[in-house]
Protein backbone atom coordinates (compact mmCIF):
# COMPACT_ATOMS: atom_id res chain seq x y z
CA UNK A 1 0.00 0.00 0.00
CA UNK A 2 1.60 3.21 -1.17
CA UNK A 3 0.16 6.69 -1.19
CA UNK A 4 -3.38 6.67 0.19
CA UNK A 5 -5.13 8.74 -2.50
CA UNK A 6 -8.59 8.38 -1.03
CA UNK A 7 -7.31 9.40 2.38
CA UNK A 8 -5.65 12.53 1.01
CA UNK A 9 -8.73 13.37 -1.05
CA UNK A 10 -10.98 12.93 1.97
CA UNK A 11 -8.93 15.38 4.02
CA UNK A 12 -8.83 17.80 1.10
CA UNK A 13 -12.58 17.83 0.41
CA UNK A 14 -13.38 18.02 4.09
CA UNK A 15 -11.17 21.08 4.52
CA UNK A 16 -12.72 22.75 1.47
CA UNK A 17 -16.19 22.06 2.88
CA UNK A 18 -15.16 23.52 6.19
CA UNK A 19 -14.25 26.70 4.31
CA UNK A 20 -17.62 26.73 2.54
CA UNK A 21 -19.33 26.41 5.88
CA UNK A 22 -17.56 29.55 7.03
CA UNK A 23 -17.59 31.30 3.69
CA UNK A 24 -17.74 34.74 5.27
CA UNK A 25 -14.56 34.35 7.29
CA UNK A 26 -12.64 32.50 4.66
CA UNK A 27 -13.60 34.40 1.50
CA UNK A 28 -15.72 37.46 2.02
CA UNK A 29 -13.82 39.01 4.92
CA UNK A 30 -10.40 39.08 3.23
CA UNK A 31 -11.94 40.25 -0.05
CA UNK A 32 -13.69 43.07 1.77
CA UNK A 33 -10.50 44.13 3.54
CA UNK A 34 -8.47 44.11 0.35
CA UNK A 35 -11.18 46.04 -1.49
CA UNK A 36 -10.96 48.76 1.13
CA UNK A 37 -7.23 49.06 0.47
CA UNK A 38 -7.90 49.33 -3.24
CA UNK A 39 -10.47 52.03 -2.69
CA UNK A 40 -8.34 54.07 -0.28
CA UNK A 41 -4.82 53.59 -1.64
CA UNK A 42 -5.60 52.65 -5.21
CA UNK A 43 -8.49 54.81 -6.25
CA UNK A 44 -8.61 57.70 -3.75
CA UNK A 45 -4.94 58.40 -2.89
CA UNK A 46 -3.43 56.60 -5.86
CA UNK A 47 -4.91 59.04 -8.37
CA UNK A 48 -2.84 61.84 -6.80
CA UNK A 49 0.39 59.85 -6.63
CA UNK A 50 3.15 59.73 -9.22
CA UNK A 51 3.65 56.59 -11.23
CA UNK A 52 6.33 54.21 -9.87
CA UNK A 53 8.70 52.78 -12.47
CA UNK A 54 6.20 53.74 -15.14
CA UNK A 55 3.33 51.93 -13.38
CA UNK A 56 0.43 53.96 -12.00
CA UNK A 57 0.40 53.92 -8.19
CA UNK A 58 -2.96 52.15 -8.04
CA UNK A 59 -1.64 49.33 -10.20
CA UNK A 60 1.72 49.33 -8.41
CA UNK A 61 0.20 48.28 -5.11
CA UNK A 62 -1.92 45.43 -6.53
CA UNK A 63 0.73 42.66 -6.31
CA UNK A 64 1.77 43.71 -2.81
CA UNK A 65 -1.78 43.79 -1.52
CA UNK A 66 -2.50 40.46 -3.13
CA UNK A 67 0.58 39.05 -1.45
CA UNK A 68 -0.46 40.49 1.91
CA UNK A 69 -3.73 38.59 1.70
CA UNK A 70 -2.10 35.45 0.31
CA UNK A 71 0.44 35.25 3.11
CA UNK A 72 -1.95 35.82 5.95
CA UNK A 73 -4.77 33.67 4.56
CA UNK A 74 -2.54 30.74 3.56
CA UNK A 75 -0.86 30.83 6.94
CA UNK A 76 -4.03 31.11 8.98
CA UNK A 77 -6.03 28.61 6.91
CA UNK A 78 -3.43 25.90 7.14
CA UNK A 79 -2.58 26.58 10.77
CA UNK A 80 -6.22 26.52 11.76
CA UNK A 81 -6.81 23.37 9.71
CA UNK A 82 -4.36 21.32 11.76
CA UNK A 83 -4.67 23.17 15.07
CA UNK A 84 -8.41 22.52 15.41
CA UNK A 85 -8.16 18.71 15.36
CA UNK A 86 -5.38 18.95 17.94
CA UNK A 87 -7.49 21.25 20.06
CA UNK A 88 -10.70 19.21 19.89
CA UNK A 89 -8.97 15.85 20.05
CA UNK A 90 -10.24 14.66 16.68
CA UNK A 91 -6.62 14.30 15.60
CA UNK A 92 -6.75 10.79 17.07
CA UNK A 93 -8.47 9.66 13.91
CA UNK A 94 -5.84 11.12 11.63
CA UNK A 95 -3.04 9.56 13.67
CA UNK A 96 -4.70 6.15 13.69
CA UNK A 97 -5.44 6.21 9.95
CA UNK A 98 -3.19 4.95 7.19
CA UNK A 99 -2.14 8.47 6.26
CA UNK A 100 1.37 9.82 6.58
CA UNK A 101 3.11 13.09 5.92
CA UNK A 102 2.40 13.02 2.17
CA UNK A 103 -1.37 12.51 2.49
CA UNK A 104 -1.62 15.03 5.29
CA UNK A 105 0.22 17.68 3.30
CA UNK A 106 -1.78 17.08 0.14
CA UNK A 107 -4.97 17.23 2.19
CA UNK A 108 -4.45 20.11 4.60
CA UNK A 109 -1.87 22.18 2.76
CA UNK A 110 -3.45 21.50 -0.63
CA UNK A 111 -6.81 22.70 0.66
CA UNK A 112 -5.30 25.80 2.26
CA UNK A 113 -3.44 26.61 -0.95
CA UNK A 114 -6.58 26.06 -3.01
CA UNK A 115 -8.51 28.48 -0.83
CA UNK A 116 -5.73 31.03 -1.26
CA UNK A 117 -5.85 30.64 -5.04
CA UNK A 118 -9.60 31.13 -5.12
CA UNK A 119 -9.11 34.17 -2.95
CA UNK A 120 -6.37 35.51 -5.24
CA UNK A 121 -8.67 35.17 -8.24
CA UNK A 122 -11.47 37.02 -6.50
CA UNK A 123 -9.12 39.76 -5.30
CA UNK A 124 -7.57 40.30 -8.69
CA UNK A 125 -11.02 40.46 -10.25
CA UNK A 126 -12.20 42.89 -7.59
CA UNK A 127 -9.10 45.03 -8.16
CA UNK A 128 -10.11 45.67 -11.78
CA UNK A 129 -13.12 47.57 -10.47
CA UNK A 130 -10.92 50.13 -8.71
CA UNK A 131 -7.65 50.27 -10.66
CA UNK A 132 -6.43 49.69 -14.20
CA UNK A 133 -3.72 47.08 -14.45
CA UNK A 134 -2.45 44.43 -16.80
CA UNK A 135 -0.36 41.38 -16.07
CA UNK A 136 2.80 41.16 -18.16
CA UNK A 137 3.55 37.48 -17.52
CA UNK A 138 0.21 35.87 -16.57
CA UNK A 139 1.51 32.29 -16.58
CA UNK A 140 4.47 33.15 -14.38
CA UNK A 141 2.18 35.20 -12.13
CA UNK A 142 -0.15 32.24 -11.62
CA UNK A 143 2.84 29.97 -11.02
CA UNK A 144 4.34 32.38 -8.52
CA UNK A 145 1.04 32.84 -6.68
CA UNK A 146 0.69 29.06 -6.41
CA UNK A 147 4.23 28.75 -5.15
CA UNK A 148 3.73 31.41 -2.47
CA UNK A 149 0.35 29.95 -1.46
CA UNK A 150 1.88 26.49 -1.09
CA UNK A 151 4.94 27.74 0.80
CA UNK A 152 2.93 29.73 3.33
CA UNK A 153 0.33 27.03 3.74
CA UNK A 154 3.19 24.74 4.70
CA UNK A 155 4.47 27.40 7.05
CA UNK A 156 0.98 27.73 8.55
CA UNK A 157 0.80 23.97 8.99
CA UNK A 158 3.99 24.06 11.06
CA UNK A 159 2.54 26.95 13.05
CA UNK A 160 -0.63 24.97 13.73
CA UNK A 161 1.39 22.06 15.08
CA UNK A 162 3.66 24.28 17.14
CA UNK A 163 0.90 26.39 18.69
CA UNK A 164 -0.52 25.22 22.00
CA UNK A 165 -3.09 27.99 22.36
CA UNK A 166 -5.24 30.19 20.16
CA UNK A 167 -3.14 33.22 21.12
CA UNK A 168 -0.01 31.59 19.84
CA UNK A 169 -1.83 30.59 16.69
CA UNK A 170 -2.61 34.21 15.92
CA UNK A 171 0.59 35.81 17.13
CA UNK A 172 2.95 34.95 14.27
CA UNK A 173 0.72 36.37 11.50
CA UNK A 174 -0.14 39.45 13.58
CA UNK A 175 3.30 40.11 14.94
CA UNK A 176 5.53 39.21 12.03
CA UNK A 177 3.80 38.61 8.73
CA UNK A 178 1.59 41.69 8.60
CA UNK A 179 4.31 44.21 9.63
CA UNK A 180 6.93 42.60 7.42
CA UNK A 181 4.55 42.71 4.48
CA UNK A 182 3.64 46.35 5.10
CA UNK A 183 7.34 47.20 5.31
CA UNK A 184 8.12 44.86 2.45
CA UNK A 185 7.46 47.32 -0.33
CA UNK A 186 3.76 46.78 -0.78
CA UNK A 187 3.06 50.52 -0.92
CA UNK A 188 6.42 51.80 -2.15
CA UNK A 189 9.45 50.88 -4.16
CA UNK A 190 12.55 50.14 -2.07
CA UNK A 191 14.34 52.82 -4.17
CA UNK A 192 12.10 55.40 -2.55
CA UNK A 193 13.50 54.65 0.93
CA UNK A 194 16.31 56.84 2.27
CA UNK A 195 19.45 55.12 3.55
CA UNK A 196 19.96 53.22 5.80
CA UNK A 197 16.34 52.02 5.48
CA UNK A 198 16.82 50.90 1.90
CA UNK A 199 19.63 48.55 2.95
CA UNK A 200 17.79 47.38 6.06
CA UNK A 201 14.74 46.62 3.94
CA UNK A 202 16.81 44.16 1.91
CA UNK A 203 16.97 41.92 4.99
CA UNK A 204 13.20 41.62 5.00
CA UNK A 205 12.45 38.40 3.11
CA UNK A 206 8.98 39.64 2.22
CA UNK A 207 10.61 42.33 0.03
CA UNK A 208 11.74 39.56 -2.30
CA UNK A 209 8.29 37.98 -2.41
CA UNK A 210 6.52 41.26 -3.14
CA UNK A 211 9.02 42.16 -5.82
CA UNK A 212 8.96 38.70 -7.33
CA UNK A 213 5.22 38.95 -7.79
CA UNK A 214 5.45 42.54 -8.96
CA UNK A 215 7.92 41.49 -11.63
CA UNK A 216 5.47 38.91 -13.02
CA UNK A 217 2.87 41.72 -13.18
CA UNK A 218 4.87 44.62 -14.60
CA UNK A 219 8.20 43.23 -15.71
CA UNK A 220 10.15 45.44 -13.32
CA UNK A 221 11.27 44.95 -9.74
CA UNK A 222 13.69 46.18 -7.06
CA UNK A 223 15.46 42.86 -6.79
CA UNK A 224 16.63 40.07 -9.03
CA UNK A 225 13.63 37.91 -9.91
CA UNK A 226 15.72 34.75 -9.57
CA UNK A 227 16.63 35.62 -6.04
CA UNK A 228 12.92 35.97 -5.29
CA UNK A 229 12.11 32.70 -6.94
CA UNK A 230 15.02 30.92 -5.26
CA UNK A 231 14.05 32.23 -1.83
CA UNK A 232 10.45 31.13 -2.21
CA UNK A 233 11.40 27.64 -3.36
CA UNK A 234 14.01 27.46 -0.61
CA UNK A 235 11.46 28.47 2.02
CA UNK A 236 9.03 25.88 0.70
CA UNK A 237 11.71 23.18 0.80
CA UNK A 238 12.64 24.08 4.39
CA UNK A 239 8.99 23.86 5.45
CA UNK A 240 8.58 20.44 3.81
CA UNK A 241 11.75 19.34 5.59
CA UNK A 242 10.49 20.55 8.95
CA UNK A 243 7.11 18.88 8.49
CA UNK A 244 8.71 15.60 7.48
CA UNK A 245 10.83 15.80 10.60
CA UNK A 246 7.74 16.55 12.72
CA UNK A 247 5.95 13.50 11.37
CA UNK A 248 8.95 11.29 11.78
CA UNK A 249 9.41 12.24 15.42
CA UNK A 250 5.73 12.75 16.21
CA UNK A 251 6.56 16.11 17.84
CA UNK A 252 3.39 17.67 19.29
CA UNK A 253 1.34 14.97 17.56
CA UNK A 254 2.02 11.73 19.40
CA UNK A 255 2.64 11.60 23.13
Amino acid sequence: MGFNFRGAWSIYTREIMRALRTVFQSILAPVLTTSLYFIVFGAAIGSRMEAVDGVSYGAFIVPGLLLLTLLSESTSNASFGIYMPRFTGTIYELLSAPVGVAETLVGFVGAAATKSLILATIILTTATVFVDYEIAHPVLAIGYIMLVAAAFSLFGFILGIWADSFERLGIIPQLFLVPLTFLGGTFYSIDMLPEPWGTIAMFNPIVYLVNGLRWTFYGSSDVNIWVSFGLTVGFLAICVGVITFIFRTGWRLRS
Binding site: M1, G7, G89, P98, R254
Partner: protein, 310 residues
Protein backbone atom coordinates in the same frame (compact mmCIF):
# COMPACT_ATOMS: atom_id res chain seq x y z
CA UNK B 1 -6.08 -19.75 15.85
CA UNK B 2 -4.05 -17.08 14.16
CA UNK B 3 -2.48 -14.31 16.19
CA UNK B 4 -3.37 -10.92 14.75
CA UNK B 5 -1.77 -8.71 17.35
CA UNK B 6 1.54 -9.49 19.00
CA UNK B 7 2.89 -7.11 21.57
CA UNK B 8 6.20 -7.89 23.16
CA UNK B 9 8.26 -6.03 25.70
CA UNK B 10 6.19 -2.88 25.22
CA UNK B 11 7.36 -0.13 27.55
CA UNK B 12 6.12 3.44 27.60
CA UNK B 13 7.81 6.12 29.63
CA UNK B 14 6.10 9.49 29.16
CA UNK B 15 8.08 12.67 28.63
CA UNK B 16 7.76 13.55 32.33
CA UNK B 17 9.47 10.28 33.26
CA UNK B 18 6.31 8.42 34.26
CA UNK B 19 6.32 4.73 33.34
CA UNK B 20 2.83 3.98 32.03
CA UNK B 21 3.61 0.55 30.56
CA UNK B 22 6.31 -1.81 31.68
CA UNK B 23 7.39 -4.61 29.41
CA UNK B 24 3.92 -5.65 28.31
CA UNK B 25 3.52 -8.89 26.37
CA UNK B 26 0.17 -9.67 24.83
CA UNK B 27 -1.11 -11.86 22.03
CA UNK B 28 -4.55 -11.45 20.54
CA UNK B 29 -6.10 -14.19 18.45
CA UNK B 30 -8.30 -13.59 15.49
CA UNK B 31 -11.99 -13.38 16.21
CA UNK B 32 -11.82 -13.16 19.97
CA UNK B 33 -13.32 -10.58 22.28
CA UNK B 34 -10.62 -9.51 24.66
CA UNK B 35 -11.29 -7.41 27.72
CA UNK B 36 -8.51 -5.39 29.23
CA UNK B 37 -9.48 -4.89 32.82
CA UNK B 38 -7.81 -2.47 35.13
CA UNK B 39 -8.34 0.47 37.46
CA UNK B 40 -7.98 4.09 36.34
CA UNK B 41 -4.45 4.97 35.38
CA UNK B 42 -3.44 1.35 34.84
CA UNK B 43 -2.22 2.09 31.32
CA UNK B 44 -5.13 0.77 29.24
CA UNK B 45 -5.47 3.87 27.07
CA UNK B 46 -1.70 4.08 26.68
CA UNK B 47 -1.59 0.49 25.48
CA UNK B 48 -4.30 1.13 22.89
CA UNK B 49 -2.60 4.38 21.89
CA UNK B 50 0.65 2.57 21.25
CA UNK B 51 -1.06 0.17 18.86
CA UNK B 52 -3.10 2.87 17.13
CA UNK B 53 -0.30 5.33 16.55
CA UNK B 54 -1.22 7.90 19.19
CA UNK B 55 1.57 7.03 21.59
CA UNK B 56 5.22 6.50 20.70
CA UNK B 57 6.47 3.34 22.41
CA UNK B 58 9.68 3.78 24.36
CA UNK B 59 10.73 0.23 23.58
CA UNK B 60 9.30 -3.09 22.53
CA UNK B 61 7.65 -4.27 19.35
CA UNK B 62 4.07 -4.35 18.15
CA UNK B 63 3.04 -6.51 15.25
CA UNK B 64 -0.45 -6.35 13.78
CA UNK B 65 -1.51 -8.68 10.99
CA UNK B 66 2.14 -9.66 10.73
CA UNK B 67 3.31 -6.09 10.07
CA UNK B 68 5.78 -4.45 12.40
CA UNK B 69 4.02 -1.20 13.30
CA UNK B 70 7.20 0.83 13.64
CA UNK B 71 7.95 0.35 9.94
CA UNK B 72 5.05 -1.22 8.12
CA UNK B 73 2.22 0.71 9.78
CA UNK B 74 0.21 1.66 6.73
CA UNK B 75 -1.33 -1.70 5.76
CA UNK B 76 -1.83 -2.58 9.43
CA UNK B 77 -3.63 0.63 10.36
CA UNK B 78 -6.00 0.30 7.43
CA UNK B 79 -7.41 -2.78 9.18
CA UNK B 80 -7.64 -1.36 12.69
CA UNK B 81 -10.45 0.77 14.09
CA UNK B 82 -10.46 2.86 17.27
CA UNK B 83 -13.25 4.26 19.41
CA UNK B 84 -11.47 6.58 21.81
CA UNK B 85 -12.33 7.07 25.44
CA UNK B 86 -12.87 10.82 25.10
CA UNK B 87 -15.69 12.26 23.02
CA UNK B 88 -13.84 14.03 20.23
CA UNK B 89 -15.85 15.04 17.20
CA UNK B 90 -16.04 17.84 14.69
CA UNK B 91 -19.10 19.55 16.15
CA UNK B 92 -20.21 21.31 12.99
CA UNK B 93 -20.08 18.27 10.76
CA UNK B 94 -23.19 16.30 9.90
CA UNK B 95 -23.31 12.67 11.01
CA UNK B 96 -23.38 11.19 7.53
CA UNK B 97 -20.44 13.33 6.37
CA UNK B 98 -18.39 12.50 9.44
CA UNK B 99 -18.82 8.77 8.95
CA UNK B 100 -18.18 8.91 5.20
CA UNK B 101 -15.05 10.94 5.85
CA UNK B 102 -13.69 8.24 8.14
CA UNK B 103 -14.20 5.62 5.47
CA UNK B 104 -12.32 7.70 2.91
CA UNK B 105 -9.54 8.54 5.33
CA UNK B 106 -8.81 4.85 5.70
CA UNK B 107 -8.53 4.49 1.93
CA UNK B 108 -11.85 2.87 1.07
CA UNK B 109 -14.15 3.81 -1.80
CA UNK B 110 -17.45 5.46 -0.83
CA UNK B 111 -20.20 2.94 -0.11
CA UNK B 112 -23.52 4.56 0.77
CA UNK B 113 -25.18 1.22 1.51
CA UNK B 114 -22.47 0.29 4.00
CA UNK B 115 -22.68 3.66 5.75
CA UNK B 116 -26.45 3.32 5.94
CA UNK B 117 -26.12 -0.14 7.44
CA UNK B 118 -23.71 1.13 10.09
CA UNK B 119 -25.86 4.14 10.94
CA UNK B 120 -28.98 2.00 11.21
CA UNK B 121 -27.27 -0.54 13.44
CA UNK B 122 -26.40 2.30 15.83
CA UNK B 123 -29.83 3.97 15.65
CA UNK B 124 -28.23 6.97 13.98
CA UNK B 125 -30.06 6.80 10.68
CA UNK B 126 -32.68 9.37 11.65
CA UNK B 127 -29.92 11.72 12.76
CA UNK B 128 -27.79 11.38 9.65
CA UNK B 129 -28.20 15.00 8.54
CA UNK B 130 -27.95 16.43 12.04
CA UNK B 131 -24.86 18.38 13.05
CA UNK B 132 -22.97 16.44 15.68
CA UNK B 133 -23.13 19.31 18.19
CA UNK B 134 -26.93 18.90 18.32
CA UNK B 135 -26.68 15.31 19.52
CA UNK B 136 -26.71 14.07 23.09
CA UNK B 137 -23.59 12.60 24.67
CA UNK B 138 -24.74 9.04 24.06
CA UNK B 139 -25.50 9.82 20.44
CA UNK B 140 -22.08 11.41 20.00
CA UNK B 141 -20.50 8.22 21.27
CA UNK B 142 -22.54 6.28 18.72
CA UNK B 143 -21.13 8.56 16.03
CA UNK B 144 -17.60 7.75 17.19
CA UNK B 145 -18.40 4.06 16.98
CA UNK B 146 -19.89 4.50 13.52
CA UNK B 147 -16.76 6.35 12.42
CA UNK B 148 -14.56 3.55 13.72
CA UNK B 149 -16.66 0.96 11.89
CA UNK B 150 -16.83 2.90 8.62
CA UNK B 151 -13.76 1.21 7.17
CA UNK B 152 -14.89 -2.24 8.26
CA UNK B 153 -11.91 -2.91 10.54
CA UNK B 154 -10.87 -6.46 11.32
CA UNK B 155 -9.52 -5.38 14.69
CA UNK B 156 -11.56 -2.91 16.73
CA UNK B 157 -10.47 -1.12 19.89
CA UNK B 158 -13.17 0.13 22.23
CA UNK B 159 -11.69 2.25 24.99
CA UNK B 160 -14.16 2.26 27.89
CA UNK B 161 -17.11 1.94 25.51
CA UNK B 162 -19.78 2.05 28.17
CA UNK B 163 -18.29 4.47 30.67
CA UNK B 164 -20.98 7.01 31.40
CA UNK B 165 -23.48 5.85 28.80
CA UNK B 166 -27.15 5.09 29.29
CA UNK B 167 -28.58 1.61 29.69
CA UNK B 168 -30.00 1.62 26.20
CA UNK B 169 -26.67 2.34 24.58
CA UNK B 170 -24.99 -0.25 26.71
CA UNK B 171 -27.49 -2.84 25.51
CA UNK B 172 -26.95 -1.72 21.93
CA UNK B 173 -23.22 -2.08 22.50
CA UNK B 174 -23.63 -5.70 23.53
CA UNK B 175 -25.71 -6.39 20.47
CA UNK B 176 -23.18 -4.69 18.27
CA UNK B 177 -20.21 -6.53 19.75
CA UNK B 178 -22.14 -9.79 19.37
CA UNK B 179 -22.74 -9.00 15.72
CA UNK B 180 -19.12 -8.02 15.16
CA UNK B 181 -18.02 -11.29 16.70
CA UNK B 182 -20.30 -13.21 14.35
CA UNK B 183 -18.78 -11.29 11.46
CA UNK B 184 -15.31 -12.36 12.58
CA UNK B 185 -14.13 -8.99 13.90
CA UNK B 186 -11.64 -9.11 16.73
CA UNK B 187 -12.57 -6.74 19.54
CA UNK B 188 -10.32 -5.42 22.28
CA UNK B 189 -12.19 -3.44 24.88
CA UNK B 190 -11.10 -1.80 28.07
CA UNK B 191 -13.38 -1.45 30.99
CA UNK B 192 -13.60 -1.27 34.68
CA UNK B 193 -17.14 -2.60 34.67
CA UNK B 194 -16.25 -6.17 35.43
CA UNK B 195 -19.70 -7.45 34.58
CA UNK B 196 -18.96 -6.26 31.09
CA UNK B 197 -15.86 -8.38 30.79
CA UNK B 198 -17.71 -11.26 32.40
CA UNK B 199 -20.61 -10.99 30.00
CA UNK B 200 -18.86 -10.42 26.70
CA UNK B 201 -15.21 -11.41 26.76
CA UNK B 202 -13.66 -14.66 25.68
CA UNK B 203 -10.43 -13.74 27.39
CA UNK B 204 -9.57 -11.25 30.04
CA UNK B 205 -6.30 -9.48 30.75
CA UNK B 206 -5.78 -7.76 34.05
CA UNK B 207 -3.58 -4.71 34.01
CA UNK B 208 -2.35 -2.62 36.88
CA UNK B 209 0.34 0.04 37.11
CA UNK B 210 1.50 -0.62 33.58
CA UNK B 211 1.93 -4.34 34.05
CA UNK B 212 -0.22 -7.18 32.81
CA UNK B 213 -0.85 -9.28 35.89
CA UNK B 214 -2.69 -12.11 34.24
CA UNK B 215 -4.21 -13.10 30.93
CA UNK B 216 -6.50 -16.06 30.62
CA UNK B 217 -9.69 -17.49 29.22
CA UNK B 218 -12.51 -15.99 31.19
CA UNK B 219 -13.76 -19.41 32.29
CA UNK B 220 -10.27 -20.60 33.23
CA UNK B 221 -9.73 -17.47 35.24
CA UNK B 222 -13.00 -18.07 37.01
CA UNK B 223 -12.02 -21.66 37.70
CA UNK B 224 -8.62 -20.72 38.97
CA UNK B 225 -9.64 -17.84 41.13
CA UNK B 226 -13.36 -18.34 41.54
CA UNK B 227 -14.77 -19.00 44.98
CA UNK B 228 -18.05 -20.14 46.36
CA UNK B 229 -19.11 -18.28 49.44
CA UNK B 230 -21.83 -19.57 51.74
CA UNK B 231 -23.09 -17.80 54.85
CA UNK B 232 -24.98 -20.02 57.20
CA UNK B 233 -27.05 -18.37 59.93
CA UNK B 234 -26.88 -20.49 63.04
CA UNK B 235 -29.78 -20.92 65.46
CA UNK B 236 -27.35 -21.00 68.41
CA UNK B 237 -23.99 -19.19 68.39
CA UNK B 238 -20.89 -21.37 68.42
CA UNK B 239 -17.74 -20.63 70.39
CA UNK B 240 -15.53 -22.53 67.97
CA UNK B 241 -15.78 -24.67 64.88
CA UNK B 242 -16.65 -28.25 65.93
CA UNK B 243 -13.98 -30.88 65.01
CA UNK B 244 -16.47 -32.79 62.82
CA UNK B 245 -16.47 -29.82 60.42
CA UNK B 246 -12.70 -29.40 60.33
CA UNK B 247 -12.50 -30.78 56.78
CA UNK B 248 -14.34 -27.73 55.43
CA UNK B 249 -12.78 -24.30 54.87
CA UNK B 250 -14.85 -22.47 57.47
CA UNK B 251 -14.71 -19.48 59.69
CA UNK B 252 -17.00 -18.04 62.31
CA UNK B 253 -18.29 -14.52 61.98
CA UNK B 254 -20.85 -12.24 63.58
CA UNK B 255 -19.91 -13.32 67.10
CA UNK B 256 -20.27 -17.00 66.28
CA UNK B 257 -23.80 -16.59 64.90
CA UNK B 258 -22.66 -17.06 61.32
CA UNK B 259 -20.69 -19.85 59.73
CA UNK B 260 -18.82 -18.70 56.67
CA UNK B 261 -17.68 -21.12 53.96
CA UNK B 262 -15.14 -20.02 51.36
CA UNK B 263 -13.98 -22.62 48.89
CA UNK B 264 -14.41 -24.25 45.56
CA UNK B 265 -12.88 -23.18 42.31
CA UNK B 266 -15.62 -21.61 40.26
CA UNK B 267 -16.52 -24.86 38.48
CA UNK B 268 -19.33 -25.95 40.79
CA UNK B 269 -17.15 -27.90 43.21
CA UNK B 270 -17.97 -25.32 45.87
CA UNK B 271 -21.73 -25.86 45.64
CA UNK B 272 -21.28 -29.58 46.09
CA UNK B 273 -19.16 -29.02 49.14
CA UNK B 274 -21.73 -26.66 50.66
CA UNK B 275 -24.36 -29.33 50.16
CA UNK B 276 -22.15 -31.79 52.01
CA UNK B 277 -21.54 -29.22 54.68
CA UNK B 278 -25.27 -28.77 55.35
CA UNK B 279 -25.67 -32.54 55.66
CA UNK B 280 -22.77 -32.62 58.12
CA UNK B 281 -24.42 -29.83 60.13
CA UNK B 282 -27.71 -31.75 60.32
CA UNK B 283 -25.75 -34.86 61.29
CA UNK B 284 -23.92 -33.01 64.06
CA UNK B 285 -27.22 -31.61 65.24
CA UNK B 286 -26.24 -28.01 64.62
CA UNK B 287 -29.38 -26.10 63.77
CA UNK B 288 -29.36 -23.27 61.22
CA UNK B 289 -31.98 -20.76 60.07
CA UNK B 290 -30.76 -19.64 56.68
CA UNK B 291 -28.19 -20.10 53.93
CA UNK B 292 -26.93 -17.49 51.56
CA UNK B 293 -24.73 -18.96 48.83
CA UNK B 294 -23.08 -17.20 45.92
CA UNK B 295 -20.23 -17.54 43.46
CA UNK B 296 -17.64 -14.79 43.60
CA UNK B 297 -17.68 -12.69 40.47
CA UNK B 298 -14.81 -11.59 38.32
CA UNK B 299 -15.09 -8.39 40.28
CA UNK B 300 -14.16 -10.12 43.53
CA UNK B 301 -11.33 -11.87 41.77
CA UNK B 302 -10.16 -8.62 40.36
CA UNK B 303 -10.27 -6.84 43.68
CA UNK B 304 -8.47 -9.77 45.33
CA UNK B 305 -5.80 -9.82 42.67
CA UNK B 306 -5.19 -6.12 42.72
CA UNK B 307 -5.05 -6.00 46.49
CA UNK B 308 -2.90 -9.08 46.73
CA UNK B 309 -0.22 -7.57 44.55
CA UNK B 310 -0.41 -4.08 45.93
Amino acid sequence: MQSILEISGLTKIYAGGFTALESVDLNITQGEIFALLGPNGAGKTTLIGAVCGLVKPTSGTIKAFGHDLSRDWRPARARIGLVPQELATDMFEAVWRAVSYSRGLFGLAPDAAKIEEILRSLSLWDKRDEQIRNLSGGMKRRVLIAKALAHEPELLFLDEPTAGVDVELRRDMWRLIGKLREGGTTVILTTHYIEEAEEMADRVGIIREGRILMVDEKSAMMARLGRTEALIELAQPLAEIPPVLSAFPLSLTDGGRQLCYRGGDGTGKGKEEVANLTKALVHADIDFTGIDIHESSLEDIFVDLVEERA
